[in-house]
């Protein structure tokens, strides 16, 4: 489409007017003939009839105003004729251009197979993700979420969890200790908690029964790093205390939770175990989630995978709690506790072979969990 300014008219005789208006009419007709789509039609309308910079406005502004009074009548008639002509062209063109011609659209083709522009989303850490899954399962069973300090006293980490001073069970938990504690009374000595169990006591000290709490947290041990050990790892601790909480309730709760976490076809079985703070104590295995229990490399052909430790809260632990909350009378209430290693579960769920990958911050590893 041409977009030449309307020139000023130098002569206003009939011949000159005739020629000038005929030229414009032809120009409009030519423009209109080229209209193929609605966008072009709209552009034509603006070009000719636009209120601000339309060509007819220009004609009116430049020619009508400049014309001597004797020529104004003729010019006016010609102008109206031209306007009518353009309007007719527009009407006709609007029809012609109302359907988008395929060839015109084809000219606007893009490669739709190019990948889309992506705003990349970050990924939640697989440990966080696993922790959240576990807490959600227990939240649905009425468990609140709790937390506690990572630097603990010997009392909370060991003594009140029924690891008496000098007890051999302390040997199983290589403990990282804070410097310069030797002169302090044993119970006040600071260390990095070796398990989330101290939060059991902190919870009971702060509220009377009933208690249903789940405690996700980070723990530390003086363990050298290898494929399955790390000085840092995470646990989820659970505690349920009320009147008439039984071992079969513990079994049912964990069976339910494992099915919620790993699928309804998962089976559980319980083995006697030993933890100072629970009695009876149990280790829980689930049927192998990889082979369904038939036996495979992942479950060392046993069909079972060991997943967590649990047990009925030892009366000695309740006795410690009762020092601050007398309602924890082991003759009146009972409860169970359980704890699971989050790394182990995450490694199993996501097929991770090295525990160290969790703490290396490698974008290529983390990005897989988006």
């Amino acid at each position: 489409m041409t977009n030449v300014d309307i020139p000023n008219l130098t002569a206003f005789d009939e011949a000159a007017l005739e020629q000038a208006f005929a030229a414009l009419a032809k120009e409009a007709s030519d423009d209109a003939a080229a209209l193929t789509n609605p966008a072009a039609v709209e552009a034509f309308r603006l070009q000719w009839l636009g209120r601000k910079q339309g060509r007819l406005n220009e004609v009116s502004a430049r020619w009508l105003k400049a014309a001597p009074s004797e020529a104004k009548k003729s010019l006016g008639q010609r102008f109206n004729a031209l306007k009518k002509h353009v309007e007719e062209l527009l009407e006709a063109g609007a029809g012609a251009g109302s359907t988008w011609s395929d060839s015109a659209l084809a000219a606007e083709a893009i490669d739709i197979t190019l990948p889309g522009t992506q705003r990349l989303l970050g990924a939640e850490h697989p440990i966080t993700r696993t922790l959240n899954e576990i807490t959600q399962v227990f939240a649905a069973l009425g468990y609140s979420v709790g937390g506690g300090p990572e630097v603990e006293t010997d009392y909370y980490n060991f003594e009140c969890m029924n690891f008496p001073p000098g007890h051999p069970a302390r040997d199983t938990q290589d403990t990282l200790v804070i410097a310069n504690q030797e002169r302090r009374p044993l119970r006040d000595r600071l260390l990095l908690r070796t398990h989330t169990s101290p939060v059991q006591m902190r919870t009971m000290e702060s509220q009377p029964p009933p208690v249903r709490i789940i405690i996700p947290g980070k723990v530390h041990r003086n363990d050298a790093q290898d494929a399955t050990h790390s000085p840092i790892f995470h646990q989820v601790e659970g505690l349920c205390v009320d009147t008439n909480i039984t071992f079969s309730d513990l079994k049912g709760t964990l069976d339910h939770a494992m099915k919620a976490l790993f699928g309804s076809s998962v089976k559980t079985r319980f083995f006697p175990s030993f933890f100072p703070f629970t009695e009876p104590s149990a280790d829980v295995q689930i049927s192998c989630i990889f082979c369904g229990g038939k036996g495979c490399r992942k479950c060392k052909q046993s069909g079972w995978i060991e997943l967590l430790g649990c047990g009925m809260v030892d009366p000695a632990v309740f006795a410690f709690a009762a020092q601050k909350q007398p309602a924890y009378d082991p003759r009146k209430i009972s409860g169970f506790a359980f704890g699971m290693g989050v790394e182990r579960i995450a490694m199993m769920k996501y097929g991770i072979s090295e525990i160290g990958q969790f703490y290396a911050g490698d974008m290529r590893f983390l990005g897989q969990f988006a």
Binding site: L114, A123, D249, F270
Partner: protein
């Protein structure tokens, strides 16, 4: 620990199950068999056991046979040996227990004219050669092998002395200051006055319950032997072993509680084996006991066990019958308990405890035994009823809102180590004097508790860049520590680090390097989740006292919300980057989320959206180089024109070349260009041109005062 099923079966000739079944049945009752090795026809299997620390009584063949007898309801064969006549001794051997707090029983048996030699299968019940071969246990001599055999058979440590090297008799006492003892491992040890020793009337002979002495050990020339079988108090043995860095079979057992009554039996077993190679018994067994320890081990008071308590703790069984009185008796009796009906209560017992089960002390211990042997998997799965509320952590919502911002900005969550080096801590600690050190760190690089998430974050960012991962965007939410070795404070913090391009992949648009303002945008969006009255960014004014030396001094900012420092961020100082061999700029920051969380989360509220058309105006401005945007921003805010509903920088041109090419030639190089977009809108009317003119004039005036002017 390795166990032979052949040996087990010698105590249970009628064991009706296969080795595999035995392994499974034991495992389900907490006597875990971790591996089974078939040893060939007639040899049975080798079990690799994993037995929990509380069950030392089951860490031997007889103990496991007792478990099997209980499971299958079999009679366990008593330990009996061929026993020659004793030759009367005129002078009884002298044994004295001086340290009565640490030694409960000491038995001594004198054997004369025994012949040292190689072990063989001596008599039924002492198949030393066969069993040791199957266990791949090294044979040393008949005397040493005899003690090992007794250990493997019944878990009772014994010791044999060359009697002729003992001067006088035996005294169990504490070591004297400065006393020396060469132990069987050949190490010369200086004893601590707290060490418990077995001594003769002149010198210490061995560390009691831990390791014998070199001086009195059996040699091929030995003819007269003293057999020791004793009971030592757990803590005394543990402390002695610990002090000398020793952990032996004997100390393992004594630390966890040995069987007070096993000494004489083990002594008999060792003696019988030695005597099978010739020699004679001299006199009776010398058996010295401390009454107080007898009452605390073999004469313990019976425990009351009520069936109702069994039910209260254990709950429902699958067979609906529940645990019956018969089931309780059927478990506890074969384990060695004696049950008598409690005269004062129905369905309750007085339970006398076996000497080998010092782990049984309370009613709950017996309930556990009932559950264990009955079979955990025969209990029903029930769900307890619950009527109560469920509470999340108080900061859960805030944390999750913050996570959403970071995740949607393309940052991956990372978790780094809790420890860092003292040098890193000194560099990054908000309070450098309050770094907490570990007493037994894994390494020097992990010697202190991290005072900041920065060292870990820098390590992870650098790790990625060094692995040729060019685009890095990480955040970590974790605990940081400060305080003293008396009191350690923990708080939650957030760190983020980034390098490379912004989080967008497009085949159509060029990638763009991430820079300061990308990070600032993330920070602003995080802050926007919280209820703040005012937020600003500054360049660490000196009075604040924090000047992070690891940041680029002119490309870093402190974040202040409601007057409180809530974080900082910026470009890593080029020197720090060079230290870490990082070529491209890296951004890093930390947000003190404990402070942010205290502000509370922003509560969205809806505002009426005006029906009247907004009017947008752009102003192309020339601004003094030292006039920051913030000055203009505040100047416009100060106008307090209600109809001025929005203003923002649309573009900034600082490129010096632009002065010559595109822009106004009348400006100097100490000025820059800024395109300001403003929007006027009224809630109740269409704005008239005259009003707009007034507003615009005021805007231009304000800009002028702030150090800018309209472009000509």
């Amino acid at each position: 620990m390795k166990i032979l099923t052949k040996w087990i079966r010698s105590y249970l000739p009628d064991l009706p199950v296969s080795d595999t079944q035995l392994a499974e049945d034991l495992t389900l009752r907490g006597i875990a068999v971790e591996g089974i090795d078939d040893l060939g026809v007639g040899n049975g299997s080798l079990f690799e056991m994993d037995i929990t620390t509380n069950r030392v009584d089951a860490m031997n063949h007889y103990g496991i046979a007792r478990e099997a007898a209980t499971i299958y309801g079999l009679q366990l064969k008593p330990l009996e040996f061929a026993w020659p006549e004793a030759v009367a001794s005129t002078i009884p051997f002298s044994v004295g227990i001086e340290a009565e707090d640490a030694c409960g029983r000491f038995t001594a048996r004198v054997l004369r004219n025994v012949a040292m030699g190689e072990s063989r299968d001596w008599f039924p019940g002492a198949e030393v050669s066969t069993y040791f071969n199957l266990l791949e246990q090294k044979k040393i001599s008949n005397a040493v092998d005899a003690t090992n055999f007794a250990w493997l058979a019944m878990g009772q440590p014994t010791h044999v002395f060359d009697l002729d090297k003992i001067e006088g008799g035996i005294v169990v006492r504490r070591a004297r200051k400065g006393e020396k003892l060469k132990t069987l491992d050949g190490i010369e040890r200086t004893l601590d006055p707290e060490d418990l020793v077995v001594a003769d009337h002149v010198k210490p002979l061995g560390l009691a319950g831990v390791m014998g002495g070199w001086e009195t050990m059996i040699t091929p020339a030995t003819t007269n032997v003293l057999v020791e079988a004793a009971w030592f108090e757990p803590m005394a043995v543990r402390r002695t072993a610990r002090r000398h860095g020793l952990h032996t079979d004997a100390s393992h057992r004594f630390e966890r509680g040995a069987d007070f009554n096993a000494g004489p039996v083990a002594s008999d077993l060792v003696s019988s084996i030695l005597l099978a190679n010739g020699g004679s018994i001299a006199g009776d067994l010398v058996d010295v006991r401390v009454a107080d320890w007898e009452s605390r081990t073999i004469h313990r008071k019976p425990i009351t066990l009520a069936l109702s308590e069994v039910h209260r703790i254990l709950g429902a069984t699958i067979d609906k019958e529940g645990i019956t009185a018969g089931a309780v008796e059927g478990v506890l009796t074969p384990l060695g308990c004696e049950l008598t009906n409690d005269s004062s209560r129905a369905s309750a017992w007085q339970v006398t405890l076996p000497s080998w089960r010092l782990d049984l002390e309370r009613e709950i211990d017996l309930i556990e035994e009932v559950a264990r042997v009955y079979g955990y998997n025969r209990f029903a799965n029930t769900l307890p009823a619950f009527a109560g509320g469920v509470a999340a952590l108080p900061w859960a919502e805030s944390e999750s809102a913050m996570r959403r911002v970071l995740l949607s900005a393309g940052f991956n969550e990372a978790i780094s180590g809790t420890f860092c080096s003292a040098a890193e801590a000194a560099l990054t600690a908000p309070l450098p004097a309050q770094v907490v050190a570990l007493g037994n760190p894994l390494s020097e690089e992990a010697g202190v508790l991290r005072p900041s998430l920065v060292p870990g974050m820098l390590g992870m960012v650098a790790g990625n860049l060094h692995r040729d991962v060019s685009d890095v965007r990480l955040f970590e939410l974790g605990t940081v520590f400060s305080g003293t070795t008396e009191k350690v404070d923990e708080r939650l913090s957030l760190a983020f680090g980034a390098g490379g391009n912004v989080a967008e992949h497009s085949p159509l648009y060029p990638a763009r390097s991430l820079e300061f303002h990308d990070i600032k945008g993330v920070v602003e969006q995080v802050l926007a989740r919280f209820q703040t009255r005012s937020i600003y960014f500054d360049r660490f004014p000196p009075e604040v006292g924090i000047i992070p030396m690891w940041l680029h001094p002119y490309r870093a900012a402190r974040v202040v919300a409601d007057g409180l420092t809530v974080g900082w961020f910026g470009q890593l100082h080029p020197a720090e980057a060079a230290n870490r061999k990082l070529k491209d700029p890296v951004s890093i920051g930390e947000i003190y989320i404990d402070r942010l969380f205290k502000l509370g989360r922003r509560k969205p509220a809806a505002r009426e959206i005006s029906r009247f058309q907004p009017v947008r105006r752009d102003f192309s401005l020339v601004v003094n180089q030292d006039t920051a945007w913030q000055t203009i921003d505040l100047a416009l805010e100060d106008l307090k024109i209600p109809e001025l509903v929005d203003w923002r920088v649309r573009e900034v041109f600082r490129d010096k070349n632009l002065h010559q090419s595109r822009l106004d030639k009348s400006t100097s190089s100490s000025e820059y260009f800024l395109l300001l977009g403003v929007t006027f809108q009224a809630p109740d009317r269409t704005l008239r041109e005259e009003e707009l003119q007034v507003f615009q004039a005021r805007v231009i005036d304000a800009i002028g005062k702030a150090g800018g002017r309209l472009r000509a």
